[in-house]
Symmetry: C2
Subunit: 161 residues, 2 copies
DNA sequence: TGATCAGTTCGGTTTGTTCCGAACCAACTA
DNA sequence: TAGTTGGTTCGGAACAAACCGAACTGATCA
């Protein structure tokens, strides 16, 4: 039995490649997550994932554990069955944006440190090159809030719908 | 001669580690970029970078080429000299945000494709799980603009100051 | 109790990345 | 033209990441 249409396979490949490059997941994890986001809420079993990816038991296990740790994937069980059904947890875009937001936040924090240093040690740099001191600092604070709010709105939006 | 104070060395290490993890640069490239963002507009020569990083000629060359390709670093020359002086191009935070923005944009594009697919193939998923159809789509469009504007504002701010 | 099922853990192989030294090139200098 | 300076390119060593098979665990079932 074919678990996957041709078109779906192509999309999985595209999404997988994408997660690998941009969000640097290991190749197999990336493809597994690709499968999840393109699948119904039903999800897939361990076996089916082996079948689709043509990967080994241990590799699939490791990949699923990583994805669960990242909160990208979750599983549920059907009463009476021991098998787990794996599916994407939350929406794909929310997971991705949350990650990006974390990075941006960390960027801004590092920026503060760097600005402080340059203010003291490379004042000419600090002025001319865009390390614009307290005004810029305030400005960035504002943008930081802006970005935070975007994520909040997405969260709220989803909860209300 | 010591090209680098103790305090600066620590910051370089911290920044380097950060670029390595979050923006996945190779270790040496990450440290070199750390040096750049913590240095005056004067920049450093190839030799000085070898001295500070204790790395080989070829490694420094490769690193600088990567950083230039990413537009993180640029060089200038002094009239009459053949030597290049390397320095961070643009402000660090701008470079970082630009990168993040690119990722978010790509995320949103992939989201559209995935939503389209799920709409057709996993309609129940599409409804229940946050793939909320055209409303969500419109909503995301708006957020996309929001994020774009943040970057624009940073750019404008810097140009005006 | 033994057998089976669902998944994990552990070494080892394969694959890929990062860095190095040595040879090289291109521009200038004596 | 030969030598020096500033930097690049190439092949390989050292290390790390990704995946595999085989042995294992822990739960259920006959």
């Amino acid at each position: 039995m074919d678990l996957c249409s041709k078109h779906k396979k192509n999309l999985i490949e595209e999404a997988g490649l994408y997660f690998e490059k941009r969000h640097n997941l290991p190749p197999l994890s990336a493809r597994v997550y690709g499968i999840m986001v393109l699948s119904s809420l039903e999800g897939y079993t361990f076996e089916e994932l082996m079948e689709i990816t043509q990967a080994s038991k241990s590799s699939v296990s490791t990949s699923l554990n990583l994805l669960q740790q990242l909160k990208f994937v979750e599983y549920y069980t059907k009463p009476g069955e021991r098998k787990r059904y794996f599916r994407s947890s939350g929406s794909f875009i929310q997971n991705m944006l949350k990650e990006q937001y974390g990075t941006i936040k960390a960027d801004l924090e590092l920026t503060e440190k760097i600005n402080d240093f340059n203010k003291k040690n490379n004042p000419e740099n600090y002025r001319k090159k865009g390390y614009l001191g307290s005004i810029f600092h305030v400005f960035l604070e504002q943008e930081k809030k802006n970005i935070e709010q975007t994520l909040e709105r997405i969260k709220d939006f989803k909860e209300q719908n």
